[in-house]
């Protein structure tokens, strides 16, 4: 620790070179943070999926509906705590670009199923008392400046309300998410209103079911029992844990994890070269001094530590600044205006980034450090 000052002075010697290297490292880590947030937005839902929840969809395709009568039958299957359903509404608020999800649900069971949705009890009471009532997530409410009491018209591309495509909902509640990753963009409204108002088509049919199971370790068995229950019926089912369902959905968009990893390796490989080059130059310039240090009794280990400390200080400083900057940029929100509702920087990514900055410092410093260690005092001093 007492040599920290020396390390710092060495870095300050070529201010311009140090700051340019530092800035490239900062940029690399801003990118790292940014890509982590993109990845989080696209595939992060998997980590938050309830381990005790199963998703049941129609076997042929999720667009095919399931009868409402399945709910009672599911509730009787051993291992099932209870089941509730949602349906894709496909509504547009003012402009198709303002995309967010709206689904009809059964309020009480829905809130029981999703404890990650936090809403004041009096708003729940209002929802149960208002047939056309809807609750909406904080993010969407803020986006469109909706307040409790507002009447919101939404055009459905699929369903008509008493012959008209425009559905009007009364906002009775605004919910927050329990975790940072909880999606607070959807709007939920009442299934009884939905089923009554929609025309003949689809009546009594719902999109998919969510099942709460009693014991998460029994998930696979319960899923099999559910599918067996509806086998050979006109609407066979496919049941899978919520996590697997979200994973499958994300992989339909593409192999995001792979693309992100490919870009990141290109970025870090470049930074490795830039920083490595700076460190190599720094050691080469200081050959003479290193010789003096050795001559006055610095051990090989200490020399290696000095050089490594310098490279690590540089990368950790750059990494911390970069991650901080990324965090600031990302907290300003989704850059695509609505396509990535869960765009944020997870703590896990911050920690990984910090770890990478240390590794980067080590890898870029180790060769110059070994080179410095191998210097023979006489040779080094001669070069002064």
């Amino acid at each position: 620790m007492k040599f920290l000052h020396l390390v710092w002075c060495n870095l300050k010697r070529k201010k311009l070179r140090t700051s340019l290297t530092l800035l490239s490292i900062v940029v690399a880590f801003v990118l790292f943070g940014f890509l982590s947030a993109i990845q989080q937005a696209l595939v992060g839902g998997v980590a938050l999926a309830g381990a005790d929840r199963l998703i049941v969809r129609q076997k042929v395709s999720i667009i095919n509906l399931l009868p409402i009568s399945y709910e009672a039958r599911m509730n009787r299957i051993p291992g099932v705590d209870f089941a509730t359903h949602q349906t894709w509404f496909g509504g547009i608020y003012q402009d198709p670009k303002n995309f967010f999800m709206q689904n009809p649900v059964e309020p009480e069971n829905f809130l029981k199923m999703h404890p990650e949705i936090i809403i004041p009890p009096e708003q729940v009471k209002d929802w149960l008392a208002t047939r056309t009532g809807a609750i909406v997530g904080r993010r969407t409410a803020n986006r469109f400046h909706w307040k409790i009491g507002d009447k919101v018209p939404i055009q459905s591309t699929i369903w008509s309300a008493n012959g008209s495509r425009t559905w009007t909902f009364d906002i009775v509640g605004i919910y927050d998410g329990k975790d940072k990753g909880t999606d607070t963009t959807p709007l939920f409204f009442r299934y009884d209103y939905f089923d009554e108002a929609r025309g003949g088509w689809g009546k009594g049919q719902v999109g998919w079911y969510t099942i709460r199971i009693k014991d998460p370790s029994q998930a696979a068995d319960v899923a099999k029992r559910v599918d067996a229950e509806f086998e050979n019926s006109p609407a066979e089912t496919k049941t899978e844990p919520e996590g697997a369902f979200i994973q499958g959905w994300a992989s339909q968009i593409g192999n995001i994890v792979f693309i992100v990893a490919a870009i990141m390796s290109a970025v870090f490989f470049t930074i490795l070269l830039v920083t490595g080059n700076t460190m190599a130059q720094a050691v080469r310039e200081r050959t003479g001094e290193l010789g003096v240090l050795k001559a006055i009794g610095f051990t090989n280990g200490r020399i290696v530590t000095l050089v490594l400390a310098e490279s690590c200080l540089l990368t950790v400083l750059g990494g911390t600044l970069g991650l901080g900057l990324a965090w600031l940029m990302i907290s300003r929100g989704d850059p695509t205006s609505g396509l990535l509702p869960m765009f944020f920087l997870p703590v896990r990514a911050l920690l990984t980034g910090f770890g990478i900055s240390i590794v980067l410092g080590f890898v870029t410093g180790i060769f110059p450090a070994l080179q410095a260690m191998r210097l023979r005092v006489a040779d080094a001093l001669r070069r002064m």
């Binding site: 395709s61 198709p96 055009q155 970025v267 130059q281």
Partner: protein
């Protein structure tokens, strides 16, 4: 006095010095070149996703093609039309005709779950029921393996992209959908268009399989000429029997691809822009150290009467040369790695999979090289100015 010629020969000789000394600065030079190559490769690579997607969409729509859906529907998926309506649409003037009748195909569009080959997870694959005119409406469609399905039979043909991306769609295999099994009898290409992501069957057979009665989702038509569109559209939208919207095929596909193109281009530019900033720092670093290493040499030249301007220009040349090499390497890498790379993604509008190939177009390559040149110029400018401003006496004293 041959002033300008002298000036140019000064530039030439300093540039030559600089370029010849590159091998001595291998590490720094490599870092810059590879850094810029990385920026260009990522920029071109990411944008080639959007370009490929857009190309798949645009080759699909011909200007004399139109699609009719229920009004208010934003994709075929949520549209619905009865047999009586599709008949009225097919009889509307403006549609091209052959001896068999108008070139109008009333179609059904559903999605089915099939596993992706790459991940073995289920994907929403579009299954389209068509009428005989469909092949004439989309004239780019060709059977490249096997044969066309027989009308009235529960057989399917599969688009080339779908056959590549999803498991179990080889000619001769049976595609299982619910309780039905559909033999795959052929594979078709559509010039790289969206249809290649689809599976086709006879609309009537599909109606029965899905208990759809006699209803459809859209009508695809081919018009007499691109100019006939407006009249055709007006005739349909003013017809009190119908409640439909008419979209030119090309516009429809642009609409369908909008969300994904926007997502990829916004993110792609952001990533590439950040990388470019990083590369500028890298280039600045290299050129500053180049200037530092050669400060005595430059001072000597200045003392001999070489102009400051010549020093600036030649150092910029050097930086530009490095950047262009990096840009060319990056563009070449992107081309080799990404051009025609087949993949599939979700079309957010219809929730169905679209297969497409990344396209590294000449325009993208040019854009990549232009970015590289800009990085090189910015990276060279400040070090060059510093070199030219260096006090000659002080620099010489370092000798």
């Amino acid at each position: 006095m041959a002033g300008p010629i002298n000036w140019f020969s000064q530039i030439a000789s300093i540039t030559k010095f600089g370029l010849l000394s590159l091998p001595q600065r291998r590490g720094a030079v490599a870092a810059t070149v590879i850094g810029i190559a990385g920026v260009v490769a990522v920029l071109v690579g990411v944008l080639s996703i959007a370009a490929g997607f857009r190309q798949a969409m645009t080759v699909s729509g011909s200007p004399d093609g139109a699609i009719v859906m229920r009004s208010g529907a934003d994709s075929e998926m949520v549209s619905g039309l009865g047999r009586d309506e599709t008949r009225v649409i097919a009889d509307t003037p403006g549609i091209a005709r052959t001896a068999q009748g108008p070139l109008a195909s009333a179609e059904l569009f559903v999605i089915i779950d099939l596993p992706k080959r790459s991940t073995h997870t289920d994907a929403n694959v579009p299954l389209r029921g068509v009428e005989p005119a469909a092949l004439l409406v989309r004239d780019k469609l060709k059977i490249i393996e096997g044969r066309m399905f027989e009308w009235g039979k529960d057989e399917v043909i599969v688009g080339r992209g779908a056959a590549q991306e999803f498991a179990g769609l080889e000619v001769g295999s049976k595609m299982k959908v619910g309780r039905y099994e559909w033999p795959v009898v052929g594979i078709f290409s559509a010039n790289g268009g969206v249809s290649e992501s689809e599976i086709w069957s006879d609309a009537k057979v599909l109606q029965d399989a899905y208990n759809r009665g006699d209803s459809f989702q859209s009508v695809s038509v081919r018009l007499n000429s691109p100019d006939a569109f407006q009249a055709f559209k007006d005739a349909l939208t003013s017809n009190p029997q119908l409640n439909v919207q008419v979209i030119r095929q090309s516009d429809y596909y642009v609409q369908q691809s909008e969300a994904i193109t926007r997502l990829v281009t916004t993110l792609g530019f952001l990533i590439a822009f950040l990388m470019a900033i990083g590369a500028v720092f890298g280039a600045l670093n290299t050129m500053y150290s180049a200037v530092a290493a050669r400060s005595r040499e430059i001072a000597t030249l200045r003392a001999l009467g070489f102009g400051g301007g010549a020093v600036v220009v030649s150092l910029m040349f050097e930086s530009l040369a490095l950047a262009l090499v990096g840009g060319a390497v990056g563009a070449a890498l992107a081309f080799l790695a990404f051009n025609n790379f087949h993949t599939s993604t979700m079309n957010f509008q219809s929730f169905s999979q679209i297969t497409f190939a990344f396209k590294v177009t000449p325009a993208l390559l040019v854009r990549g090289i232009v970015w590289a040149a800009l990085i090189g110029l910015i990276g060279g400018l400040f070090p060059a100015i510093r070199a030219a401003r260096m006090p000659i006496a002080a620099a010489l004293r370092e000798l």
